[in-house]
Each structure stands twice: as structure tokens, then as C-alpha cells.
Amino acid sequence: MKSTEDFRRELLEAGLLEDGGVTGLYHRSFHFEAIARGVEAYVSAAGHNEKNRQFFFNQVIARSTLEGSGYLTSFPDLIGVVSSFAGSGSDLPQLIERVNNGGDWNEMMSPTEVALCSAACHPVYPLIAGTTIPIDGLHFEVQAFCFRHEPSDNPARMQSFRQHEFVYVGTPDGALAHRNMWRERGRQLLSELGLSVDVIVANDPFFGRAGKLLEANQRDKELKYELVAPITSEAPGAISSANYHEDHFGETFDLRLPDGSRAHTACIGFGLERIALALLFKHGLTFRDWPANVKAHLSSTHDARLPEST
């Protein structure tokens, strides 16, 4: 049976991925990227909805978004904040000296106002903070490069990867319905690509003692489902997750329904790199040899992001 290590070596030897210089960082070949973008177009078309507000977010977000999302305190070990040199010209010789002699130049850096994007849906909420959410809810289709500081030799666990999400903001019932509908639609979509998909109750790796309770609650309340399939070995891993956040973002970003109660939110995220890897693991490293129906799904020219008039 092929191990993760074997598959990683095959990906690198085939040139689909290149080692990015540190553990868990990869450069993607155009071939790999074409598959990821095929997946993107495929799920985007499936989620086409006139009501969707659509955004490609930056790979960096306002630091205040990281704070407001709660991600900073729930996953402090996974985040990244961008730092920069804030010294004066007279500090420069010291910086040069440290860089040239392998010293701790990072000590001379200060955090900037931006952080690496923690999840594709996080920049959504500041956009509508403090507004009244219509009773039939708001819908978003968004994508971002996200960062997780969890270096691993498993290419399924990249430090920098894309999430393509469909997000709902509205009533508790609406949020649950969105999550459950997408959980099933996601399973169908990914199964149609030939992947062996299971749906499981899951939890995020929350940090610390408070995190233990959050993990237990997340499971007990079935807030998070993962769609799992073999990615880089036969051991299944998450290629998508369908989440109900309750009023967490409604509280922190002051999202209110017309009756004054807090809005609830839900999202499904598709991991574009993980799905591309799962397809390569399942169907082999040569796209032209893949099953015709899978190739057809990923080669669709329909692009729901383009307005009809152009």
C-alpha cells in the first residue's frame, strides 16, 4: 500500500509540486494548478446562486479581523501575523549585522496591521458588521489563500492553501439548513469526481483548556462535519468541512436580525489543494488518463463568476 511518503516523492518527482524550502510549503506546477482551478470552477458552478455576493479575498487580512474572528485566541498556535522593520535609519547597521551573522533579526521586527488569512469566511463578517441582516439571510461565495502554522511532511497539510467557501448569515434555522444542504451537496459533488467520500462529525484543534470544552461541545452539538477521503494515503482526511458557528460571529461582529437577535452563520469550505491531491492519489498523476466523466467535470467552460452580459 502506498504511503504518504511514497506519494509525496512521486508528486515531487513528477514536478506537480516543488519543495518550497520549509516543511509544509510547496510551489504548484501549472498542471497541479489547472486541477485545483478545475475543482474551483466545478464547485463554483454547483453553488451558483443569484443571491451570492462573491469575493476573492487577499492572503492577508486586517489584524482586527483575526482578533474579531476569535481565531487568535482559539488557535494561537496556528496563526501568522506579518511583521516588518519599524526602526530608524540608525538601526539599520544593527539589522545588517544580525542578518549577515545569523543573528536574531526578527527581534527587530514589529507586528504590522495585517495578519495571514485564517479562514476564507473570516473577512466576510467585518463587511457586514453592525448591519441588520435580512430575515431571509445573506449568501456569500468566497475564496482565499489561508495559512496554518502546522509544518508537516504530509502534502495534505500545507501551510498555505486555498479554501473555497459558501457562507450563510441569517437565522439559526437558515444557518443549519445551509450547512446540512451543503454537507449533502458536497458529498455528492466530490463523489461524482470518483472520490470515496465519508461524512463524519469532527472538531477543530482548539487550543488550551477552554479549547477542550469547545472541542467537546463541537462534537456533542455536531457543529462540524468533515467530508473525508483518501488524500495522500488510504487514511481518510478532510477535503471539505461543513460548519455551523451558532451565534459566534454574530456576537463578535454585531450581526443582528430584524428582531434584534444575533444572526447565526454557517459555511462549507472546499480545500482546493486537498481535493486536487485526493484526485491525483485516486486517479493517478497523469490527467489525460483520468476517467472521462471526471475530466469533463473539471474541464467545464461554464464559469458562474462571469456576469451573463460580458
Partner: protein
């Protein structure tokens, strides 16, 4: 109502973010059914630890510990709490 219950209810009113006042709920009513969210339950947990000067062991960090006023009181009592802080 015991002094412990009074303190528990004050903490729930301050931290549970329930749509209705805790005074409308019975001791055995399910707080999660009443709208206690996962994140709010963490704030309740931390406030209880602060008020009663205890630390919930890891085995208590689960949904059932905080599911009702009665459940919270029983958890506190099993950790040696006999009265509200003076």
C-alpha cells in the same frame, strides 16, 4: 434557592447570552436548548472558575457539565464547593 444557585444564575445572566432571562428557566431546564452556544459555555466555565475559585478538571470539560443549573451545581459540589463565595 441556595447561595450557590444564586451565583450560578448571576453568572449565566452575565455570560450565557441566552435570548431570555435565566430567571424564566427552571433548575433542570436544558441551557443548550435555551440557546447556550459553544463559545458562550466557555465564558460561563471561566466565570464559574473565577467566582468559586476552582479549576474544572479536564474530565469536566464537556457539554453535560454545563447543561443546566442543577448540572452546574452538582459539578461544583463534586469539586468541594459548599457555598457561594463570601
Amino acid at each position: 434557592m441556595s447561595t450557590i444557585d444564586v451565583t450560578i444564575r448571576e453568572i449565566l445572566d452575565a455570560h450565557a447570552r441566552l435570548p431570555e432571562s435565566v430567571s424564566n428557566l427552571g433548575d433542570d431546564d436544558d441551557l443548550y436548548d435555551a440557546g447556550l452556544s459553544s463559545h458562550a459555555s466557555v465564558n460561563v466555565m471561566l466565570a464559574l472558575e473565577d467566582a468559586f475559585d476552582i479549576e474544572f478538571p479536564d474530565s469536566y470539560l464537556r457539554k453535560g457539565t454545563f447543561e443546566s443549573v442543577t448540572a452546574i451545581r452538582q459539578s461544583l459540589e463534586s469539586l468541594g464547593v459548599t457555598a457561594a463565595p463570601g
